[in-house]
Symmetry: C2
Subunit: 144 residues, 2 copies
DNA sequence: AAATCTAATGCAACTAAGTTGCGATAAGAT
DNA sequence: ATCTTATCGCAACTTAGTTGCATTAGATTT
């Protein structure tokens, strides 16, 4: 619990009368350490490894709370489960290796903004997008 | 059952010894008529309306079969359910209205190909992508 | 340090989407 | 008409997530 952006989150929570529970802090830490979006199931596993053993209900409720507080964002990679990452990160997309699951961040580019502009001209008001690339990362290309 | 691309599908199925059941044909028709990706649940509803009342297991198995035969493609809009559309359509993306659910097709553009090329240079071999835009369609903008 | 307030938790039971095994049915070739 | 086997229906199961309710525990107040 040392990183700078934690401070802002903690202050906001305290100001609104929310509590700094072990699980709440641990989820933020794990999402930060993972450096990739985690599913609820993965989070439950990581928390268990730490000795915290929250009930899955609590984890799902904590996720819902953090979404509401805009501490995290919900993503979908077309799996049946949702994934979550810290909202403090700059807006970006992902390149997901279909073999090892490695996830690389990709900046949101000019090309995507162009498409949205084009949609705007067609009178569709874009408020969000879901953009993920799938394929083979460098190391999985070599080993196959 | 009049459209041209149906013929190719039917021929391919017969050639491989698969059968042209009512449900199989009806699913293709409904996906064609809908002009937008349908979920398994929606398909079951539409089939029921037609008087066919296949068990959900059969519908899921038919979907799995059609995916294997590459008659349909699986898509995800970040819902908990999958959606399916006819593979005969040209590769494209979607603009989904968050209010009325209206789905508009969008051609896959140069901007996206540029991103993939950039990833290629970074040694990530792209084999697919998931690209959907969310927002408000023309008529829902007016009524709000 | 104890009392207090209520945010957060645990549990059981439930839902929705999809899957599996298996015996019964029916498409369509002979 | 018969036969082969693709397809179907049912029951039971799985996975991801949700809800109601009684209990516990942060953090503030006394």
């Amino acid at each position: 619990m040392k990183r700078s952006f934690y401070d802002g989150i903690i202050r906001d929570l305290k100001d609104q009368g929310f509590r700094l529970t072990k699980v709440r802090m641990a989820i933020i830490e794990e999402l930060d350490r993972a450096k990739k979006p985690l599913s609820a199931g993965e989070l439950i596993g990581l928390l268990k490894k730490r000795g915290l053993g929250p009930h899955k209900t609590s984890v799902y409720r904590e996720i819902a709370f953090m979404l509401e507080q805009e501490i995290i964002n919900r993503l979908s990679f077309g799996e049946r489960q949702d994934r979550f990452e810290l909202a403090a990160l700059e807006h970006h997309h992902h390149a997901i290796c279909k073999v090892c699951g490695e996830i690389e961040d990709i900046a949101c580019s000019e090309g995507i903004r162009q498409i949205e502009e084009m949609l705007g001209k067609q009178k569709f008001k874009v408020s969000g997008h879901l953009i993920e690339f799938f394929g083979l990362c460098t190391s999985c290309q070599q080993s196959s």
